[in-house]
């Protein structure tokens, strides 16, 4: 396509000795390399979660199928949910946070580069910790929601749930550390002149998500800590024989769990808000309202958790309140949808692969949103909850929303990350197979659910009216496998064979496109001074941005004496040549993360009565962690 022809000045990126090799990856503190690590790891877990889904759908292809046993199936659906939520979609968003936020706000790196590395290593080790048991048929089997009392030692005596409790606790540390890091980065490290209302929409949505993370993770941390105490130290937080109320777990879990779904979707909304204006050649319609609606969704998201619990018998008043709050969320979400369509209205739409995914998000998320409003009415939800109608709903918002948005982001930013384009034709194949496969998989689930098929069942009987819908869904899953394999192939081969991209292959508006692809380690040789919301359009096509406010840097902002007007950078140097101080590479975050995982895993020995071993490993891990932290905090950053 002519529209993405690279400028002739662009050169293919070359690897130099000091930025290759395993050692450099282990010790890196560069946000771009950490983002790349996040991306690769999360894609790997995405494939793992997808493989689990394939096994699930194969078992459900026909009634009374004997493909996997009940116990295996229960582990598979638990791990599919846990993997997709915690190890695939959240880290895929984190890959973009890491890679893009500093570039979009014109910073050299995040506020705490070493903490950033720590977040990644904790995620990797936690992901391995929670995934490995499935190879030994010991994987968690209590559902991704882990309802007590089923997860208490009385009803789940084996080690399965132990891995889940400890694994989620470990992963929570990673999310929290990263969230504090990004909030600090966004508040303190914006380029001169970039006021909050000039930030790119992806950074804005990420900013909201970081607050959701630091507010939503404490409740589940508490809930998991109670369960951990119950399982390892004999407390009775959830022991029903001692009079515990199982709703304690449900409330704590969903106070986390509902904001969590906005944590999963808002980054995708942000990515789509970058892609649509670029390929419509128009600014985002109603930027301010888009910001407010994102904040509103995040804020209201904390007041709707009990709509997951309409069947538990909370009483008419609570049901009504949570129902109305849930309906309210539809309004800011609807505003976003309409604003996206308005963004494209009267534009010059180029149907590139990222644009197709972004448009697909609007179309598919709308369907999920409509079924979401259907569950928001508690009496209607009493016929829907715990059925495949719900499965259809959240796959339309998560696969049709988050995953579509993330694919849009990957195709859009791949040239920035690698300096090369992904193949357009393979991308088109991927898009259409993915789109058809997704609808074939999840649309029939609306029907099987409303016709009475419940969730989390490893088999169903013949003659119940479920057969056709399950068959279709299974074929759709196989189509998604083909689509995903095409994507993987495209992702891998384009690294060396894609068309060279150059700084700004798409004609986008924000700072990350003003520097070479892939960006040099220092990001910006000279920090740009931002004078409007669309700095690159100001530079390349001033007519486009006549309608918005421009200014010189706000004198209240701490301006960097080195800042220069926004400009294109084409030359590559090393930080040393330019005299830019860079944080030193260090393996200490990896050491501390490893020590922390060792500390947690020591508890596993308690169940085999190996008290001495458990204490040795746990205390040893804790001591190593303390020593590692001391060394980390006393060594200079630069």
């Amino acid at each position: 396509m002519a529209s993405i022809a690279a400028p002739t000045t662009a050169t293919a990126p070359t690897a130099t000795a000091e930025n290759t090799g395993i050692r450099s990856w282990i010790t890196t503190v560069d946000h771009k390399r950490i983002g790349t690590l996040y991306l690769w790891t999360a894609l790997f877990f995405f494939l793992v979660g997808g493989f689990e889904a394939v096994l699930i759908r194969t078992q459900l292809m026909q009634p009374n199928m004997g493909f996997v046993s009940a116990e295996t199936y229960n582990q598979l659906f638990t791990m599919h949910g846990t993997t997709m939520v915690f190890l695939a979609v959240m880290p895929l968003s984190a890959a973009f946070f890491n890679y893009l936020i500093p570039l979009q706000i014109g910073a050299r790196d995040v506020a705490f580069p070493r903490l950033n590395a720590f977040s990644y290593w904790v995620y990797l080790l936690g992901g391995i910790f929670i995934t490995l048991p499935i190879l030994f048929k010991l994987a968690p089997d209590g559902g991704w929601f882990g309802y007590a009392p089923l997860t208490t030692p009385r009803f789940s005596p084996g080690p399965n749930i132990d891995f889940w409790v400890l694994g989620l606790q470990i992963l929570g540390v990673s999310s929290l550390a990263a969230a504090f890091n990004f909030i600090t980065t966004i508040i303190n490290m914006r380029a001169p002149g970039m006021s909050l209302m000039r930030m790119p929409m992806f950074t804005w949505m990420s900013f909201v998500v970081q607050f959701l993370l630091i507010l939503a993770f404490p409740p589940i941390t508490v809930a998991l800590f109670f369960l951990l105490m119950d399982r390892f130290f004999g407390t009775n937080f959830y022991a029903i024989a001692a009079g515990a109320d199982p709703l304690l777990w449900q409330h704590l879990f969903w106070v986390f769990g509902h904001p969590e779904v906005y944590i999963l979707i808002l980054p995708a909304f942000g990515l789509v808000s970058e892609v649509l204006p670029t390929f419509s050649k128009k600014p985002l319609f109603g930027y301010n309202v888009m910001v407010y609606s994102g904040i509103m969704i995040g804020f209201l998201g904390f007041g709707v958790w009990a709509h997951h619990m309409f069947a538990v018998g909370m009483g008419a008043v609570a049901d009504s309140i949570f129902s109305l709050m849930t309906m309210l969320i539809a309004i800011p979400t609807g505003v976003k949808i309409f604003n996206w369509i308005a963004t494209m209205w009267a534009g010059e739409i180029r149907f590139t692969v990222p644009m197709k995914f972004a448009i697909a998000l609007i179309a598919m998320f709308t369907i999920g949103g409509i079924s979401g409003v259907m569950h928001s009415s508690p009496p209607a939800d009493l016929q829907q909850t715990d059925t495949y109608f719900i499965v259809a709903h959240f796959h339309y918002v998560l696969f049709g929303g988050s995953i579509m948005g993330i694919f849009a982001g990957i195709y859009f930013y791949y040239p920035k990350m690698t300096g090369r384009h992904m193949s357009e034709s393979l991308g088109n194949w991927h898009f259409w197979l993915n789109f058809i496969g997704m609808n074939l998989t999840f649309f029939p689930m609306h029907f099987s659910g409303l016709y009475g098929m419940s969730r989390r069942i490893y088999t169903y009987d013949a003659g119940q009216g479920f057969d056709l819908f399950n068959k279709l869904a299974t074929y759709g899953t196989y189509l998604l496998v083909v689509a995903t394999l095409i994507f993987v192939w495209n992702f891998l081969r384009s690294r060396t064979r894609g068309a060279v991209a150059g700084n700004d292959p798409w004609g986008a508006a924000t700072l990350e496109w003003s520097i070479p692809s892939p960006p040099p380690e220092y990001n910006f040789a000279q920090l740009p001074e931002v004078t409007s919301r669309y700095p690159l359009w100001d530079l390349k096509d001033p007519k486009m941005t006549e309608g918005i406010d421009h200014s010189h840097a706000d004198p209240m902002q701490i301006t960097d004496s080195h800042a220069v007007p926004v400009h294109e950078e084409t030359e590559r140097h090393t930080a040393k040549e330019l005299g830019i101080p860079m944080p030193l590479p260090t393996a200490k975050p990896l050491f501390v993360a490893t020590a922390m995982v060792v500390m947690f895993s020591g508890l596993l020995f308690l169940h085999n009565g190996m008290f001495a071993v458990a204490m040795t490993v746990t205390i040893g891990g804790a001591a190593s962690m303390a020593i590692g932290l001391y060394l980390w905090l006393t060594s200079p950053l630069e």
Partner: protein
């Protein structure tokens, strides 16, 4: 819109459809559903049509109009904030009304049925009549059935898709759910499910609900309340009560679960089963450790399903298998092989028992199992 087709059908093709007007409860829900579907369809059509129109109308064309640099439009944005809000009000008002209507206390004169969830079977108790049964529940049409929901272990959820919405069974808590089957419903059978994940055999925790005429119900409940035992002459001489006729069972309530191939039982032995010997085997073989049979003074344990009038039931194993000799024999021999995670002990000699981590040595032979089958079959 394929969704519209949803409401149009139901019945035989979809025997667990939620689109019915069989009770006051699901009639109220279906009214709400139709409203949700109506507005949902309108929103869907408007948004998707607008999206498709936009991307075709404004695609980049050679010689096409340049992009208009619009940054926003307050009037428009207020419009598409207000319109969804109005639609939501139209949904919210009947929603709240229905919530309060369906969660009000059950009307006076309701039939109380205490439902207790167990991993993975259902216990039904009629306090008014002193009847305890398992996995099959009879309710008369025209009278409100008020289900008092409790659980003995983990969380479960009580759902008969064709008769109304669901309600969870929460440990240490009592939940209520009531509905009134329409008086013109006739005699019919419905599938019930557990819909809250409750462990290994969650999928196999089913039950059957029979809506019957008031006189049929009276006959059934009077019969069930009497002891059922071989040596109890009063029980034997009493007239048999009403049982939902096997011939009238719709196909979808008859389970088709396959039996595991490795579980062998010589069906020829069943013909030689003797109920009297079976009663002895039942009392000596450990069955009374878990099962109660009203009229058999040895069998009083509340742990497992109550087997009084077991012969009058159409299913066994939590609604997983048809209640015939072929399945019952295999169930007694090795319940754990028949149903993943089942708590019932393996009693067939030579079968592998996970509890013993080896083969069963002190249990029942196939011949003894055939006797027990005959005994249970006699408990009509």
């Amino acid at each position: 819109m394929a969704l519209l087709a949803l409401t149009a059908c139901g019945g035989a093709e979809y025997p667990n459809s939620t689109f019915n007007h069989t009770t006051d409860f699901n009639t109220a829900i279906d009214g709400l559903w139709n409203r949700l579907l109506f507005w949902g369809t309108i929103v869907f059509v408007v948004v998707e049509a607008g999206l498709i129109y936009t991307i075709f109308r404004f695609r980049k064309r050679p010689g096409g109009a340049p992009a208009k640099q619009i940054h926003g439009n307050v009037a428009l944005e207020i419009t598409w904030t207000v319109i969804p809000a109005v639609i939501l009000v139209l949904i919210a008002v009947p929603t709240v009304k229905t919530i309060f209507q369906t969660q009000a206390p059950a009307p006076a004169g309701a039939l109380t049925i205490e439902v207790t969830g167990h991993q993975w079977w259902w216990e039904f108790h009629y306090p008014e009549y002193g009847v305890t049964t398992a996995n099959e529940v009879y309710i008369p049409v025209g009278r409100t059935a008020n289900f008092v929901l409790r659980t003995k272990d983990v969380l479960h959820s009580f759902w008969v898709p064709q008769l109304g919405g669901k309600r969870d069974l929460i440990s240490n808590k009592t939940n209520l759910l009531w509905f009134t089957p329409n008086a013109d419903l006739g005699t019919n059978a419905w599938n019930g499910f557990c819909v809250e994940y409750c462990g290994a055999s969650h999928a196999n925790m089913k039950f059957r609900m029979f809506t019957v005429q008031p006189d049929e119900f009276a006959s059934w409940v009077a019969h069930q309340a009497r002891p059922a035992a071989l040596h109890d002459s009063t029980a034997r001489s009493a007239p048999a009560g009403y049982i939902f006729p096997a011939a009238d069972l719709p196909a979808h309530v008859l389970p088709q679960t396959p039996t595991p191939a490795r579980l062998q039982f010589d069906d020829a032995l069943l013909a030689q089963g003797d109920a009297k010997r079976g009663e002895t085997a039942f009392m000596m073989g450990g069955c009374i450790g878990c099962h109660a049979i009203q009229g058999n003074p040895m069998a009083v344990s509340p742990i497992g399903p109550n087997l009084t009038h077991f012969g009058s039931r159409h299913t066994l194993g939590g609604g997983l298998f048809p209640n015939d000799d072929h399945h019952l024999a295999r169930w007694i021999k090795n319940a754990k092989a028949m149903k993943p995670g089942a708590l019932m002990l393996v009693v067939g000699i030579g079968e592998y028992s996970p509890d013993l981590k080896g083969p069963v040595t002190a249990g029942l032979t196939d011949a003894q199992i055939a006797d027990v089958v005959a005994y249970l079959r006699a408990l009509k």
